[in-house]
Amino acid sequence: MMRFLLLFSRQGKLRLQKWFTPISEREKKKIIRDMTSMVLARQPRSCNFLHWKDLKIIYKRYASLYFCLAIENQENELLALEVIHRYVELLDKYFGNVCELDIIFNFEKAYFILDEFLMGGEIQETSKQMVNRSIEASDMLQETMEEYMSKPAF
């Protein structure tokens, strides 16, 4: 199973964090620090897999963002790369040509998409359309900005 997924920028700022096991706050901060320092220190053309404690860390760089996924030792690393890529594709489909700003300003949507795609450390849905449909359905339930602005204030 997957243990955690982190997204951070080239400057080391954390954009997204998803933890699949219960960990204390202190542990989380320590892990984030370790991951950012390890991944950012890597040479540009080295391989995308690292070993850290008893986990395998798979990282991939998309433009200015690093996607860092930690999996257990018996998992398939190449498939983890595919998982990262699939998540990026989902974001891209939803936001339309996604960039880091989209994730910064609409991070809750990014989390929702992630929650539809992965759950409990495993892949939940392998079809792109299904995930997108679920997100669209939940969006329908939300008010749009105009509706909100036009409501009478008491």
């Binding site: 699949f20 096991t21 219960p22 040479q43 053309r45 080295s46 391989c47 995308n48 897999f49 690292l50 398939n76 690393e77 190449l78 498939l79 790369l81 595919e82 998982v83 890529h85 699939r86 759950m119 409990g120 495993e122 892949i123 939940q124 849905e125 392998t126 079809s127 792109k128 359309q129 299904m130 679920s134």
Partner: protein, 626 residues
């Protein structure tokens, strides 16, 4: 993420949801079930009836999560494993459909339909077929099909192939299939993508134990990977190369590995050097080659060689009797070039000390003998003593070497002068040695030749060779020195126990280790001769309460670096009111001279009720472990 109590409560709900008609809910329920099983494995049986129809799903999402659920169940319980074996044909069919079916836009990734599901099914097949011949046979075809039909141009295809290879290796597949798997890995190695090469090297490392011959075929590719720029790939290639070394390819492999040692990063050098030594020891085609290899390692990576390899090397050199002249000559030449690498210097000075006469007499069959005079040799050794680059250990080695040469060379006066100078050195170790050697010159000159004889061939033992020899040199007191055959001088470190030794402080004060509830335990110490590393502790247990303590058992535990031997107690009743004591002898071996610590557990029965206590003993006097 739910806790185990929450899981217990909600498991029933989850199970019901597994059966709903809504596929969205069902897939979430399946993953919840996975989590429940991970937290509370006993609830597995609860989900068993729901799993009956899981595999006949059409919806890929639900299918995927169900396969995860099944995998989790099979991993946790062998009964489930046996139960689900019958699903193998169904899984094979699903996998076949996935591969054969045409393009499905919903699940497609670069031309392969639903790779995530394919990989998960392969994982499940691996678990199911692990030790089962029938299932493995059923899978053979589909695995071969996947292996040959999957496209390898994209990462996805390679991910599936990787999983297939792992599955083939784990189940009881036929040999043709295994060879196919290893060939796939070989192809991965040639791929430009670093990730794939990394993955291939890791898997080959796992399979090299079982399918050695097949991996050998790819040896040249692996050796090429040693030259890769990526650190992780280099490390894995190095480990794999060491695993592949055998009697036939030792010469070629060693050349490559030595070249790698020259150019690799410092963090690898220690591991590589030890690996080279091990491989050379096992497969050396000739003694000369072996010594040449060792010399090469010492000169190129000398400072990274592990400390314990120095005694091993010395032992090796001693044992190759006919090579002594050649060895000492080469070491001397290396020493002339460079004295900064400590292990090299230590080995070289030891050899010069032992075989200096061979060096000076100029006999050497293997190589052109060089003309060296005694003075030149002594110059080199004295140079080591004064140089800033030498560590104290190295200085000790060179002083002892100079001393040994006093019996082999004729210029004894010069040696006497050097030794007496160091009698007032600031370094305590050097000073002690110099004083002892001085005394050897003055009072015990008759013993000197016998004492500084050549070392005999040491037997290989599993522990450090040298310590065995220390045991035999038991005589230590100066008054006991008789001119019987004193054994030859041992490793330089042990010299002082053989020669005149100061009287050791034998009186170590006793201490109270434990004093509670009327039970007092005192420790008294003795040092066991001949081995100064063993401390013999006698415990005295006394009881100041009014009733006897019966069934008294004393247990002790020590940290990992020590070894403990507990002899039988004098009795297991501690009489009341301090009328008597129970004694028991403990022997502690402390080879690393670390601070002695002990955890003790006491159990006894007092007035009919059992008492148990644990305590830590930290107040050992320093003389007991120094």
């Amino acid at each position: 993420m739910g806790s185990s109590e929450m899981c217990r409560d909600l498991a029933g709900e989850v199970e019901k949801l597994l059966k709903t008609s809504n596929s969205y809910l069902r897939k979430k329920a399946a993953l919840c079930a996975v989590h429940v099983i991970r937290k509370v494995p006993e609830l597995m049986e609860m989900f068993l009836p729901a799993t009956k129809n899981l595999l006949s799903e059409k919806n890929h999402g639900v299918l995927h999560t169900s396969v995860v659920l099944l995998t989790e169940m099979c991993e946790r319980s062998p009964d489930m494993l046996a139960h689900f074996r019958k699903l193998v044909p169904q899984l094979v069919r699903i996998l076949k459909n996935l591969i054969m079916s045409g393009y499905s836009p919903e699940h497609d990734v670069s031309g392969i339909s639903d790779p995530f599901l394919q990989v998960r099914i392969l994982r499940l097949l691996r678990i199911l077929g692990k030790s089962d011949d029938d299932s493995s046979e059923a899978m053979n075809d589909i695995l071969a099909q996947v292996a040959t039909n999957t496209e390898t141009s994209k990462n996805v295809g390679n991910a599936i192939l990787y999983e297939t290879v792992l599955t083939i290796m784990d189940i009881k597949s036929e040999s043709g299939l295994r060879v196919l798997a290893i060939n796939i890995l070989g192809r991965f190695l040639l791929n430009n993508d670093k990730n794939i090469r990394y993955v291939a090297l890791t898997s080959l490392l796992k399979t090299v134990q079982t399918d050695h011959n097949a991996v050998q075929r790819h040896r040249s590719t692996i050796v090429d990977c040693l030259k890769d720029l990526d650190v992780s790939i280099k490390r894995r290639a190095m480990e794999l190369s060491f695993a592949l070394v055998n009697g036939n390819n030792i010469r070629g492999m060693m050349k490559e590995l030595l070249y790698f040692l020259d150019s690799c990063d410092p963090e690898f050098k220690a591991d590589c050097a030890s690996g080279v030594f091990l491989a050379a020891e096992k497969y050396a085609p000739s003694k000369r080659w072996h010594i040449d290899t060792i010399m090469r390692v010492l000169t190129t990576a000398g400072s990274y060689v592990r400390d314990d390899s120095v005694p091993n090397l010395i032992q090796l050199i001693t044992n190759s009797v006919e090579m002594h002249a050649y060895t000492v000559q080469r070491l001397y030449k290396a020493l002339l070039d460079d004295i900064s690498q400590q292990p090299l210097v230590q080995v070289a000075s030891w050899c010069i000390g032992e075989y200096g006469d061979l060096l000076v007499s100029g006999q050497c069959e293997e190589e052109e003998p060089i003309q060296v005079t005694e003075d030149e040799v002594l110059d080199v050794l004295e140079g080591l003593l004064v140089s800033n680059l030498s560590t104290p250990v190295t200085r000790g080695y060179s002083l002892t070497a100079i001393m040994k040469l006093s019996t082999r060379f004729s210029s004894v006066n010069r040696i006497k002068k050097v030794v007496s100078i160091y009698g007032s050195s600031i370094d305590v170790e050097l000073q002690q040695r110099a004083v002892e050697y001085n005394a050897l010159f003055k009072k015990y000159d008759h013993m000197r030749p016998a004492l500084l004889e050549r070392m005999p061939i040491m037997e290989k033992s599993t522990t450090n060779g040298p310590t065995e020899i220390v045991q035999t040199n038991g005589e230590t007191e100066p008054s006991v020195v008789e001119p019987k055959h004193p054994p030859p001088v041992t490793q330089p470190n042990q010299v002082r126990t053989v020669l005149i030794s100061e009287t050791h402080i034998n009186t170590i004060p006793p201490m109270t280790a434990y004093n509670k509830n009327g039970l007092k335990i005192d420790f008294t110490f003795e040092r066991a001769n001949p081995n100064p590393n063993i401390a013999v502790i006698t415990i005295h247990a006394s009881n100041s309460t009014e009733a006897d303590m019966t069934d008294f058992v004393f247990q002790a535990a020590v940290p990992k670096t020590f070894q403990l031997q507990l002899l039988s107690p004098s009795s297991n009743v501690v009489p009341a009111l301090n009328q008597g004591t129970v004694t028991q002898v403990i022997r502690v071996l402390n080879p690393q001279k670390q601070q002695l610590r002990m955890r003790i557990k006491l159990t006894y029965t007092l007035k009919g009720s059992p008492v148990q206590d644990l305590a830590e003993v930290n107040n050992f006097p320093p003389q007991s472990w120094q």
